[in-house]
Amino acid sequence: MLKRSLLGLTLACASLGTAAADKVITGAFDVGPGGAPQAFNPLTNSAGFTWLNKYFGTLVLYDVNFKKISGDLASSWTVADGGKKYTFVLRPGVKWHDGQPFTSRDVKFSIDLAMNPDSGSPFASKFANIKNVQTPNDRTVILTLSKPNAALLDGLTNFMILPQHELAKIPAKELRNSAWWRTNPVGTGPFMWSKYVPDQYVELKANPGYYRGRPKVDRLVNRYFKEPAAAVLALKSGDIHFTYLSLDDTKTVGNNATIIAGPSQVVNYIGFNGTDPRFKDPRIRQAVMYAIDRATIVKQLYGGGAELAGCVVTNAKYVPKGLNAYGYDPAKARQLLQAAKWNPNENVELLTYYGDQLSKDVLVTIQQMLAQVGMKVTPRFVDAPTFGQTTDKAKPTFDLVYAGSANGPDPDVMYANLHSDFTPPNGTNRMRVNIPAIDKAFEAGQAETSPARRATIYQDLCKASNAQLPWDTLWVAKRFGGASKNLVNFVWTPAPGGGRYDDHAEDWDIR
């Protein structure tokens, strides 16, 4: 990089002494929707796991395709007592980065900490069914549940295990913003903490004692960019080896990098304010579905990089055949609106927190399509805090929203977005969906332990949401990353929140 500068020659001479011979991979790992720049607390983070899992470990994790869960810190596990007892056997010989042995007490400590309301962790709700955690010996952890929770393993895939010997001395309340996370956190992952330069970058170094073997590169650097466009430029100029890309970026990156595409697992939808009597009639929600030419939007605006979503569940395993496709039919949409006595002079607002160009184009197109069938909508672009405040209010006054919901391999993650128990302030069911069939299906899916019967339950849920339209689900878009061609064995996929999936970071290398 130095030789590029105006002072090229002088600098080259000056830097001879400092030129490092070690292998370094530099990336913008926290740019894009899965990132959480400078947020290092895995108990409260809901994103940024791509980076956190480089130095922390989880009991279990997904494969890169999110099909199968396998062990990380747990080498095996069994489920007994009708899904109410989970026994994990921990991998032998795992050590924390400071050399202390990793034991079952660390696991118990971490789960108890997450369930303590003072730690402010969203895992508290995921672990609500855990009655107690027992550690009969150093390598065994037994979780006893008050009622079965088939989604527990999925929840554990991004639950980082923390060191008791370091954190027990910090009160849970102070832990949330503790300096420990950003000074010298100790984990079990392939890399260990090296240096944090606030607002600029954070650097990890290889963990020589990693249980799968020492990583091939010596250092891993995560650089921060306020503007995603700046990260793309740095990738193109060769300053960094990886960053998240927008659809438009993929067209300009050209030969500079390999483009990695994957499903976002985020379903985009039009939501209706469930407390507003104007949207109670399901024919209105159906009319909106028929009025939007989704196939054309996907083809023209997304360049084919999105799949239509038939229901609120995106994992193909749980999407049954024979769903209503809601093909583009403006005449039918007009009829439905008339039948539901929609007032064509009524102007409703379509609120969104998306501010990127693609989403703006999409919303303007939707506005035109709805206008053609006699529904006047005005898109309104706000930032995430404004969106949150508007939709979280006790008596929300918004009309429609265009939003995305992180789905994922297990449909249970949608529980809190669609179950009536989770209406704000108790959760994130911001549209105030209250459909008994959907509530029951989520409860049944969580209690059912047989994978086959679970699949049927969620397929029925999908069918019900396709027919009753708690949300008008539109599509699941692809997301992209750009990786330098010098990277070897590099694994990345655009998972919600950044994972966790098995990326074998210890095998990453650079030419």
């Binding site: 990089m1 002072l7 309301p117 995430a384 805090p385 949150g388």
Partner: protein, 317 residues
């Protein structure tokens, strides 16, 4: 002059107080609550957890109490703690201020030197090709917003010509003086563009006003060499309005730096400010406003004191 400076400093205190009160009031009208920014939208947090966090951040207090508390601590030099990560606001600003001052200082230095130089050249060679070219560039410079100039500059000089690194403050793992200078050069040059353009225009017209005065003709008639006439007799008298412009543009410079810092991933106060606004991080926004407003007031004071140095006829009473 000492009493004058002291009086000006004392006047700044109520001024800063009014500024913080206005900003605090405006913040209350901004949609979005710090808690909504603090808790990611897809995160399920129970009502109990929400109440704990709200109480700890002091957001459950009445607005007036929140402001009074903030002020009470601020006068003692304690700007509070960031909502986002609990770090002390003063420490974050102190960490972010040096890169901003470096960028602004370099941008301003380049701007003043080049702006005055080009202004003199354009005035002395009035209506020549040189003057016309410089004038066209000045208008381009004045009318190009900093963020656009930043993106164009990055594209041309970092990506295509590869003369400079594509943003950042240092190469991770290096961070030597030369490394930082190589990262500083491009954003500082771009930041100086508007400054150069504005100063050039002012210097040019100011010199043209002075250059036809009788005492200039007298100096030339006495046989003083032309370069000396320009530097000693013309420039010194022409600089007063220019100094005003230099001072008045510090606010613009800060505005430009806010955008450039984002585009160039420069870890300064400007980026911090935008971050704080995104996160509705009230203590951080208040702290940064206070420091930036203080900087602008200080710059204005320095400008006023400079008059006396340039023109001995000016006295402070």
């Amino acid at each position: 002059m000492g009493i004058y400076a002291l009086r000006r400093l004392l006047i700044s205190i109520p001024l800063l107080l009014v500024i913080t009160a206005i900003i605090f009031t405006l913040l209350q009208f901004t949609p979005g609550d710090p808690l909504d920014a603090y808790i990611p939208p897809d995160q399920v947090v129970t009502a109990e957890q929400r109440a704990i966090i709200r109480h700890e951040l002091g957001l459950d207090q009445p607005k007036a109490v929140q402001y009074a508390r903030w002020l009470q601590h601020a006068v003692q030099g304690d700007l509070g703690y960031r909502i986002k990560n609990g770090e002390p606001v003063a420490a974050e600003i102190a960490r972010r201020l040096p890169p901003t001052l470096l960028l602004m200082g370099a941008g301003m230095g380049l701007g003043v030197v080049l702006g005055v130089l080009f202004g003199v050249m354009a005035a002395v060679r009035r209506y020549t090709a040189l003057d016309n070219v410089l004038t066209v560039f000045a208008f381009l410079g004045i009318s190009t917003p900093a963020f656009l100039a930043g993106l164009l500059g990055l594209y041309v000089f970092a990506l295509k010509l590869k003369w400079f690194p594509a943003g950042g403050y240092q190469t991770p793992g290096d961070g030597g003086v030369l490394d930082i200078l190589s990262h500083l050069a491009l954003p500082a040059l771009i930041l100086s563009v508007t400054y150069v353009a504005v100063l050039m225009r002012y210097t040019r017209s100011s010199i043209l006003e002075v250059i036809h005065q009788d005492y200039v003709r007298t100096a030339s008639a006495k046989g003083v060499a032309y370069p000396r006439v320009v530097s000693k007799h013309v420039l010194r008298n022409a600089l007063i309005p220019v100094v005003t412009v230099i001072g008045a543009n510090v606010a613009n410079l800060i505005g430009g730096a806010v955008f450039l810092e984002s585009i160039f991933s420069w870890p300064g106060t400007g980026q911090l400010y935008l971050d704080a606004i995104d996160a509705r991080d009230y203590p951080m926004i208040m702290g940064t406003t206070l420091v930036l407003a203080g900087t602008i007031l200080l710059a204005n004071l320095i400008t006023d004191l400079m008059y006396g140095l340039i023109d001995p006829r000016i006295r402070y009473t």
